[in-house]
Symmetry: C2
Subunit: 118 residues, 2 copies
């Protein structure tokens, strides 16, 4: 169970987190092919539900995500990509897709400091 359980869940949500400052950048969907391609190429790939195809993040914009580490959750049905993000993660030009504060004004979600020593 150290790998995502695509047999039970053909599409699994993947969180992209900035490996430098911990900011959550986006959430997208991953199928087995996208996961394998991510592992093989070292760049984040997803499965586009709207276009029904494999999608390399940044394939058009150049705003690619270099994989630093990958974690799978306890139920093997969620994925965490730690990435080095080139350019803004969001197609709107914001650093992160999570720029809408519920119940309030817009505001980018927080960045954190450098990683603490282990």
């Amino acid at each position: 169970m150290a790998e995502p359980d695509f047999a039970a869940h053909p599409l699994i949500p993947a969180i992209a987190q900035d490996a430098r400052d911990g900011r959550v950048l986006m959430l997208a969907w991953v199928n087995q092919e996208a996961f394998r391609t991510t592992r093989e190429t070292g760049f984040a790939h997803y499965f586009s539900r709207s276009r029904n195809r494999l999608w390399k993040k940044g394939e058009e914009s150049g705003h690619v995500q270099k994989i630093v580490d990958i974690f799978v959750d306890c139920d093997a049905d969620a994925i965490l990509y730690l990435v080095e993000q080139t350019g803004p993660a969001c197609h709107t030009g914001r650093d992160t897709c999570f720029f809408r504060r519920s119940g309030g004004a817009d505001g980018l979600n927080p960045a954190f400091g450098p990683r603490q020593p282990e």
Copy 2:
């Protein structure tokens, strides 16, 4: 579109992130009732797909998640809860559910430093 689009997506994935150190704690599912209850009570609620009911995180374990902030993504189909986590987030007793490193040994996903000044 500052709120999740439950009309288009009855179940929306929600990321819980530790508001103190940026660690990604878990991913679970939220419907309109869970989201409203989260907003009203200030504690993270989800919708359990396996039990088919509203679920307050920590309702049995006491490992509740106090809401610090809530963000919605650009497509209004993903949610980010910034939380103060009481106790471990994972039912296995780990701090985070993302303790399995893909293709390698177990290891908790990284924590980050204190939030940087704005």
